[in-house]
Amino acid sequence: MGVEGIGARVLRKEDQRFITGKGRYTDDFNRPGQLFAVFVRSPHAHALIKSVDISEAKGCEGVAAIYTGEDVAEDGLGGLPCGFAPGGGPQNAPPRPALLKDKVRFVGDMIAVVIAESVALARDAAGKVNVEYDVLPSNTDTGKAMDADTPQLHEEAPNNVVMHWEIGEADPVEAAFAKADHVTSLDIINNRKVPNAMEPRAANAEYDAAADSFTLYTTSQNPHITRLLLAAYVLGISEGKLRVISPDVGGGFGSKIPFYPEEAVVTWACRKVERPVKWTSDRTEAFLSDTHGRDHVTKAELAMDKDGKFLAMRVDTKASLGAYLSTFGMLSSTYLYGTVLSGPYDIPAIHCKVSGVFTNTCPIDAERGAGRPEATYLIERLVETAARETGIGVVEIRKRNFIREFPYQTAVVLQYDIGDYDTTLELALEKADYAGFEARKKKSAANGKLRGVGFSTYIEACGLAPSNIAGAIGAGIGLYESAEIRFNPTGSVSVLTGAQTQGQGHETAFAQVVASKLGIEVDKVDIIHGDTGTVQWGHGTYGSRSLAVGGSAISAACDKVIEKAKKVAAHMMEADAADISFENGEFSVSGTDKTKTIGEVILTAMVPHDYPLTDMEPGLDQRSFYDPANFTYPAGTHICEVEVDPDTGVTEVVRFTAVDDFGNVVNPMIVEGQVHGGVTHGVGQALFEKALYDEDGQMVNASYMDYIIPHADNVPSFDVGYTNTPCTHNPLGVKGCGEAGAIAAPPAVINAITDAIGVRDLDMPATPQKVWDTIQANGTAKAAQ
């Protein structure tokens, strides 16, 4: 299976439909007789609702129904559940009704829904819903959210504090800092990002009165979790009475993990109006209400001895969670953050404190990397700054501190199974021609440009997650994955997976796993996902888990298939099953020249005319539930070179080298696409992106006229390479690659800019104005040195 199996650059099966416009997204589905929902959203960031008058709107043409927060409360519709609450301290989790009746807490909060015959008519009527507000002062500054005079969002959360969480031991850290020869300290803001999925969210719900059951088409990265939360916690019905379908999903980046109030409202309402109800977000709603990511204010310190050996790290973070707790909002700023603070370094003592706070902003949830970019950014900024301060050098300081013995127990819970950080660093240095940097810098200077180089030697914890760990740290769900392999008599197979693609190429990569395991051509393997009505169970796609966990489930199911197929083959060849071996799609009897192909075995099992029916059931279908033993730990070295134009402050990323250890690679072409996209994502955070709220809580850049996302001309052609230490605990030896670029790139870019312009501190995003200001403040003479 060399041309199609694991390791082959198989063209993506799904691209034919995507690039010819044949993809089917939630908004492409229309149900007979459907109505359209438009939500009445708060224009204020913080206000009491004095009254909601729907009388004029109700009389508008085409209006079928209008529901308000009062209706939701009267019907006893459950609030939105929070799927994760970290242990170790109190969590002040206030309720979050699907529609508000008393108070609004961010611009975009929902007060009412208008359901009408068309979107335009619903919008007309929505404009006539009269809401009287008593506007309150807002709290939009994460750093000041806990201050005594800051406006408070929820009664349940005094001083806007959701939780104080910590990891690691404080005493050894304090002791290490007391005896340190050098301490590097940075104040860091990790900028709030808008996820910007190309496909806006949408939901279309239908109620079947005869079956007393619902079907919801929705844009979800994890339809089974949406079903669980919506059925069991919001509607109060059995999960079997709700089918959730997520067809093609056009990007998520984490923002389609959470369960949203719009999904709750259209599903609840479709039974009341007795017709399907469809809602599709417009781009402004997407900016305002798709969960945002990051938004940390941190003080980070690194203690070293005189040789530059790291002794301890101390981190104190204020993390905004937005106006409400999103489904997994607290996970990103706690366990996905504090546990990776050791990076690839041997740091004997680490202590991290996080205060989760409410602000009058869009709720926070996972965004590509989710916690690990925030951690990696501060580690790599600290390490690079320490290297410059001490004069040890940015490469040398890493070499002095890399972990080299595995398994390695970090000071922050995780135990790394394997890695080889020196090899990735050396390969990256070579590919990036680091030795030639000074010459390139001189050349740039001759053209009036300031050239700088920055490193990021990152590690991430992926492949979420061992369920026992997930449970121990506060998750309300397990995090295993499932797979089912179903055979057709003529040898093709359907593979049902609980992973849910948003464009990552599962239909190809998973088929390659099956091709390698069973010797069945990729074209004969159909991957089925995204429908709770057909797929047995699943936890979805995020945390670079789909191949490491979902792919491993497929692999395990294939093993079960092979085990049974050997018995069938043994019957066919009149041999003992113990003597049957299987390779490249062929069963053979050891010591003989007898063979049977997998196709012949499938046919025999599916059409059991000559089959040991008294000993075995017909068929070969198998199902597996795979729960990982540990996280996976992809790691790598990213090297960024920039040229800064001192006249305008424009930063151009002129060279970017990414050498990653993703373990075994199933499809290098797909992986490279993920790296390119991830790095571009990271460049976006470093140079351009920030959700800007003014002091009244208005998001002032809620459109592409003002919110900057990276364009193709903002990134160079990437130089990508691999090293490989296969994961020790999953059957494929894979680690995951989807988030690496977004995790690794931001510090590499900022380290490069600070190198170029000769400054120590520079917050993201490094916009032209900010870089120009920094150069002005520090003097161009210094910058030119």
């Binding site: 919008r123 006249d647 305008t648 592409y704 003002d706 032209p768």
Partner: protein, 265 residues
């Protein structure tokens, strides 16, 4: 978008009549500003009069040293016209860098000029080239046409049919694009012709496109990038927003002016 009535005119006179007879008629050419505004329900014309099928309002014509560009000529057509590239590379380059390919194949010079967005590119070119804007009933000098931010000398119902200018000796445009929208945060068009040097600035001014007399005088005396560097750009006249404050924009105006002069040769 609210409901609207669509008309297609085949002559300028017909277009003017159609718009005039409507409750709230608007001309539409490429619709690159009007359509998004309507989609956001910030504009709701009762009638739209499409002027893209009026043959007399299309195309780039160079006769002797006079350039005439029909109002509905798209940015792509302006950028790609070889006869224009031969005589005024500055405006060809400008047109070739407006928005993105989709915008350039829909948006028109007349639409851009009539809208007079303070960050649009064409107003800088027309002002620096000393162009004339011809409408269905008169010809207006660019100096009189661009009144202020989104404001022009156009009367209600008046339709731009073409713009024209005399070929300059030298010209170039240098733009610092807003990293989000790619509109100009500071765009400077310099032109040297029989009447001397004209320098027009778009994107940066707090009241729309303007001429910079200090730079014009400096360049009249000494046509060089260094001469521009000495000129004073008044921060008080600059826009300030989330992408750049007045001090930064004042700096960009100088830098873009220097680069434009250098590019013009």
């Amino acid at each position: 978008m609210y409901e609207t009535k669509y008309h297609r005119a085949s002559s300028a006179d017909e277009a003017v009549k159609l718009a005039d007879s409507a409750d709230d008629g608007q001309f539409i050419a490429g619709g690159q500003t009007l359509i998004p505004t309507m989609k956001q329900r910030l504009a709701s014309p009762s009638d739209l009069v499409d002027i893209r099928n009026i043959d007399a309002m299309k195309g780039v014509n160079v006769e002797g040293n006079k350039v005439t560009i029909g109002a509905t000529t798209t940015h792509a057509e302006v950028a790609d016209a070889p006869q224009l590239q031969a005589v005024c590379q500055g405006i060809s380059d400008l047109a070739g860098h407006i928005g993105d390919p989709a915008v350039r194949h829909m948006g028109t010079i007349g639409g851009s000029v009539a809208n007079n967005d303070p960050a649009a590119d064409y107003p800088a070119a027309l002002l620096a080239l000393g162009a004339e804007i011809t409408t269905n009933n008169r010809t207006i000098a660019a100096d009189d046409f661009f009144v202020g931010m989104f404001e022009t000398a156009l009367e209600d119902g008046e339709l731009i049919t073409s713009v024209s200018f005399t070929v300059p000796d030298k010209s170039a445009y240098s733009k610092f694009p807003n990293p989000a929208s790619r509109y100009a945060m500071a765009g400077v068009f310099v032109a040297k012709g029989g009447d001397g040097v004209r320098v027009a600035v778009t994107g940066a001014g707090s009241d729309g496109v303007f001429r910079h007399s200090g730079m014009e005088e400096a360049l009249d005396a000494n046509w060089s990038a260094d001469a521009v560097a000495e000129a004073d750009v008044d921060e008080a006249m600059m826009l300030s927003d989330i992408h750049g404050n007045a001090a930064y924009r004042a700096n960009l105006v100088k830098v873009m002016a220097k680069r434009a002069v250098a590019a013009a040769g």
